[in-house]
């Protein structure tokens, strides 16, 4: 494919592709960290953590409300403590802790349930199976973030460099976990948080470089490609131009901050290798899914 041409197919299927990418990321995290799935495109746990860093800070944007975010932070800390002490009882949350959240995060007492419900939908919390506790941190969530989160808790364990990078990893893991559950929920329920646009746009830019023949994704993002994607959404799909301008700034800020754009080259922006590989795998799985669906329709 000559440079500067976008893949129209990828643009048309942007919704399915971005959702698939989130699922692929989640499956890969589960495969390497908790060992419940089969790994596909990454070779080690280290790579998985590095991939997770690419999703750092997604939740700190206006995706979740601020107060559930604070509760999630408290839960991450709890997971870290539980992992370090090897004490799973810490994952159970008694009534007193909820009262403390209400006090500390200045939540109106009658609205406490409203703030906790999103966490139940997103499977961060689940109802407790023991009578004396109200909630329990979901086991999947604990297994995902427990290990890196331990460095955030105990100051004896962490040197500053490790702390900073563990912070990024935990933030990335939480983001992918919450995103994938919110996408799953929104597929069945009408409302519900979906993938925020700045992240979606960063992914669409990547998908637009798909080569139809070799199924590779070009890892250099040229200005022509950016313009073509923008034209497609603003002119063909009729998005508001002002909305698009602000989203684009947001997307590029996100891409630079999370080192998805590694550096500038004479041709365009060089994208991170792991990020591109994630998208390649997402395309493969999405195509597979479509083929299966067509086959099912055909042979019905």
């Amino acid at each position: 494919m000559s440079s500067g041409v976008v893949n129209k197919w990828a643009l048309k299927h942007y919704k399915g592709l971005t959702e698939e990418a989130i699922f692929v990321a989640m499956d890969e995290l589960e495969a390497h960290i908790t060992g419940t799935k089969k790994p596909t495109f990454l070779s080690s746990k280290d790579e998985t953590y590095v991939l997770a860093k690419r999703f750092k800070g997604v939740l700190y944007r206006p995706f979740l409300k601020q107060k559930p975010m604070k509760i999630i932070q408290a839960l991450i800390d709890r997971c870290g403590q539980a992992y370090y002490d090897k004490d799973l009882d810490l994952l159970y949350i008694p009534k007193e802790t909820i009262d403390e959240w209400v006090m500390a995060f200045q939540i109106p007492p009658d609205k406490a349930d409203d703030y906790i419900r999103p966490l139940l939908i997103l499977k961060v919390l689940e109802p407790s199976d023991r009578r004396e506790y109200v909630y329990k941190v979901s086991h999947d969530f604990f297994r995902l973030v427990g290990e890196p989160a331990q460095y955030l808790v105990d100051s004896r364990l962490s040197d500053p460099a490790k702390f900073g990078e563990s912070m990024e990893i935990v933030s990335g893991l939480t983001s992918v976990y919450v995103l994938s559950h919110s996408v799953k929920v929104s597929q069945y329920v009408e409302e519900g948080a979906r993938i925020p646009w700045f992240l979606k746009l960063a992914m669409v830019y990547t998908f637009s470089g798909l080569d139809p023949v070799s199924k590779d994704i070009r890892d250099v993002l040229e200005p022509e490609r950016i313009n073509a994607v923008d034209d497609y959404f603003v002119i063909e799909k009729g998005f508001s131009a002002e909305f698009w301008k602000s989203t684009r700034v947001d997307a590029f800020t996100y891409m630079t901050e999370n080192r998805i754009i590694e550096n500038t080259t004479s041709e365009g922006y060089k994208l991170n290798t792991l990020w591109v590989r994630l998208h390649k795998e997402a395309v493969r799985r999405y195509v597979q899914r479509i083929i299966t669906r067509y086959r099912a329709m055909w042979y019905r």
Binding site: S44, K53, L271, N272
Partner: protein
């Protein structure tokens, strides 16, 4: 089962040195093919070269920039002592010694008193690939500040460093060690497939370090050179994360390490074939 991997590279000095040499050549070739972004990671490397005086960097940068401004005009390939910026009037000697050492490196030739000219193959290998880039990014010659660490300058400094190392046929130990430390990012299978990744686990890093520390030519100065190499990698952002695994910039792996491995593999195969024929 990999047939060439970082252990094969770092266990013997000969293969480590060859690997680093191949990597330099491969990087220069990438520049020639238009992927000049690779060069920025090697800016300031020239300061580590034991055999080149420091003023070489300033003079060469100026010469390349000047020639790149208008490569069609052969008079732009020439540089006079009096015109090089960034030197005080009493530092004339250091410009002259830089000229001398550029001639020794076969990068330039003397064309008159106090005047040198870049050689034709330097123009072909270094100047022509980056000339459009210079024309686009650098204004008039007066505005050039050699000490400026912008992307343009970094790129040009990097190309110069790679080229000087290639021409001199000598590599600073810190560069050799750096290549050894980066080598776990790639491995070659028996059938010649080259596998790449952008992370280096702590174990791999420490194993590579351990092997290199026991190599005879590096043994007595390893600590210092290792320190220099790690500092260089962080400063030039070759390593962009260090916990839980070291994360390496993708361009370096794609354009430098992987093709160098491919060459190493081809060489070993060729040798095996000739040995079998004898």
């Amino acid at each position: 089962m990999p047939v060439v991997d970082f252990k094969t590279v770092t266990r013997k000095y000969a293969s480590l040195r060859r690997f680093a040499g191949e990597a330099t050549e491969v990087a220069l070739e990438a520049v020639k093919n238009g992927r000049i972004e690779i060069a920025q990671y090697f800016a300031k490397l020239l300061y580590f070269l034991p055999f080149a005086p420091r003023s070489v960097e300033k003079v060469l940068t100026y010469a390349v920039l000047k020639a790149g401004k208008d490569p069609q005009d052969p008079t732009m390939y020439e540089v006079r002592v009096s015109e090089v910026p960034g030197f005080d009037p009493d530092e004339r000697d250091s410009i002259v010694s830089a000229f001398k050492s550029l001639c020794e490196l076969d990068i330039a030739e003397v064309v008159g008193a106090d005047k040198i000219k870049l050689k034709a193959d330097v123009i072909r290998d270094v100047v022509l690939p980056i000339a459009p880039f210079i024309a686009e990014n650098v204004g008039t010659l007066r505005e050039i500040r050699v000490d400026d660490v912008s992307y343009v300058t970094k790129t040009i400094l990097g190309i110069n460093a790679l080229y000087v190392m290639y021409r001199a046929g000598r590599l600073p130990s810190s560069f050799t060690i750096m290549m050894g430390l980066l080598s776990p990012t790639t491995w070659v299978e028996r059938d010649g497939t080259v596998n790449r990744k952008t992370t280096i686990s702590r174990d791999e890093w420490l194993t590579a370090k351990k092997y290199m520390a026991s190599l005879k030519p590096l043994r007595d100065k390893f600590e210092v050179e290792y320190f220099k190499a790690v500092g260089f990698m962080h400063e030039n952002r070759i390593v962009i994360g260090s916990y839980p695994a070291f994360e390496i910039v993708g361009s370096i792996v794609d354009l430098m390490i992987a093709p160098a491995y491919k060459r190493l593999y081809d060489l070993r195969r060729q040798r095996a074939v000739t040995r079998a024929r004898k």
